[in-house]
Symmetry: C2
Subunit: 329 residues, 2 copies
């Protein structure tokens, strides 16, 4: 690993302030402020002169001061709580995809995106962020096992939306795909293909995953397979998933259909199957969840339940801003 360095530097940390700029322009500070804000109340000629001068001197208004004055933060916190998977590194492409779309949507509205990975040690992580003034609102990706904390925060602050499951009675606004239905579809798909010895691969304790399992079990029940279906609760990391799946497959030969809680898990399962010489989908069919981009690029291409995450991200952001605008939703 290299550590390159630039040539010797002479930093030009001359950071001119509004005060100086005003003197330079021969106007008052307020005129500078209004000019840069493009207020038409300032004479066009004066305004342009100020703007030009600012450009020349590389002046940028200090946004921290600006935000303080305007009592806003112009930033949204995006949080990935990692309660149920203490060692899950969010290298999960799912997070990244969501993050990318959120970044796009927020950038469009001129808001910054403050990223937090949280390993909830106390119950105050969300309240701390929301109460700190650093953000105007927050988007939580996945309830993890923190529904109680999220509900509490939702009661005290406005400007909080959650990607994840919608459980009856929850206090917080959430957006997510219909996980139960997704699980149902996955189950029916496997059963329609003649698979009978089914396995749910994933930890059902986070609500989204629990609902996927629930839908899956429902499909099994419809087919009279309620008794034979198995669940293997595993971590979401690909490595852990791979190990657990391998072990399980060795101990339980005969499985012919797998529904994985996420595509990453599914890919690990594919590998474990390949190593055991089991054909996919001939011997064992696999269905994933998310439709991350890589899903189409495994061999064979992974069957997966698609979530339209761009739509989801946009909806999250829409609802967040509606809350911030005072709408009650």
């Amino acid at each position: 690993m290299h550590r390159g360095h630039g040539a010797g530097k002479a930093y030009t940390i001359s950071k001119i302030g509004m005060q100086e700029l005003a003197e330079l322009a021969g106007v008052s500070v307020s005129t500078v402020s209004r000019s840069l804000a493009g207020k038409t109340i300032i004479n066009a000629k004066t305004r342009e002169r100020v703007v030009e001068l600012a450009r020349v001197h590389g002046f940028k208004p200090n946004q921290v001061a600006q935000n303080l004055r305007l009592r806003r933060a112009q930033a949204i916190g995006v949080i990935i709580p990692m309660g149920h998977e203490i060692d899950q590194h969010p290298s999960d492409p799912f997070f990244m995809l969501m993050l990318g779309y959120l970044a796009d949507a927020l950038t469009d509205r001129n808001f910054d995106l403050l990223l937090s990975r949280v390993i909830p040690a106390d119950d105050a992580w969300l309240d701390n962020l929301l109460g700190s003034g650093r953000v105007d609102g927050a988007i939580v990706i996945g309830q993890s096992d923190q529904s109680v904390v999220i509900d509490a925060a939702a009661r005290q602050h406005r400007g909080l939306v959650v990607w994840g499951a919608h459980v009856p009675g929850q206090q917080h606004v959430s957006v997510g795909s219909d996980n139960i239905r997704g699980g149902l579809i996955a189950g029916r798909h496997l059963i329609a293909r003649g698979k009978r010895r089914l396995l749910f691969l994933g930890n059902p304790s986070p609500p989204e995953f629990g609902q996927r399992q629930q839908g899956f079990l429902q499909a099994c029940a419809e087919a009279g397979l309620a008794d034979s279906v198995r669940t293997l609760p595993i971590h979401l990391t690909s490595e852990a998933a791979y190990c657990a799946a391998s072990e399980f497959l060795d101990a339980n030969p005969g499985i012919d259909g797998i529904f994985a809680a996420s595509d990453v898990v599914a890919m690990s399962a594919l590998r474990a199957l390949a190593e055991r010489g089991l054909a996919v989908p001939g011997d064992v069919a696999v269905v994933g969840y998310d439709d991350i981009m890589l899903a189409a690029h495994t061999s064979p291409p992974l069957t997966t339940i698609r979530q339209d995450m761009q739509a989801g991200a946009n909806l999250l952001v829409d609802m967040l801003f509606r809350q911030l605008d005072g709408e009650d939703c």
Copy 2:
């Protein structure tokens, strides 16, 4: 997609301020400030009373005001410039992995992470961020085609480090793996396996990729293959990579070794190969770059050049803070 909502809410937006808290405690605002900061100059009894009162009322100092006063932002910008790949969505697991490690390292130092995806339209994107006061420094992931802009910003501000290539004469501090060496290793690996009709898969214009290609070509030259080696410049998205690779393979049968600029590209190549009935690594050997987690979970597991990104991320953050502390590096 559901849009769940919580029960009707009565927000407790009572956000008490330092002023009120001071009155409640019967002390001055400064005493509250110092108490919460844990300054021992305040009598322990008074201090604890204030702290307790703050806790009870859920008071959290406004960090925006705090930062303004302390002339800092307590945040680092992390930027992914997307100059060369206008449509590359950073769902690339590589970015996410890096981002995760950076988030960890910054969180450890109590800094926030401001995420920006930038499609450089003007030349001011970096200067705008650095000059806005919203961040104390920035980490740029990949030079893309913006080396000039980055150099310019590095000259004006302190607190800027870049993940990517180290090219002679650059003005900015950069951290990255030895891409030339990586390419060299990849090339030698393929050649040692008896492969002779080689292909570099990736757009060599961003410096990191260019250096990977350079090392690869060097290995080819060593083996006298300089003339037969091919380069296929493609986009980094898996979809685009897949299409381009498929087309190329059809038009150029006989390729027996592929070095892909990234693992995502490599995975797409694997799929294209599999669909053409070409065995990996029997007919065609493939080497990727990055060692993202999924690389081990393809079938067959992908050979890849590993970058220790955690070490890289830590180094980036270390060097950034050294710059901020005034060290000249």
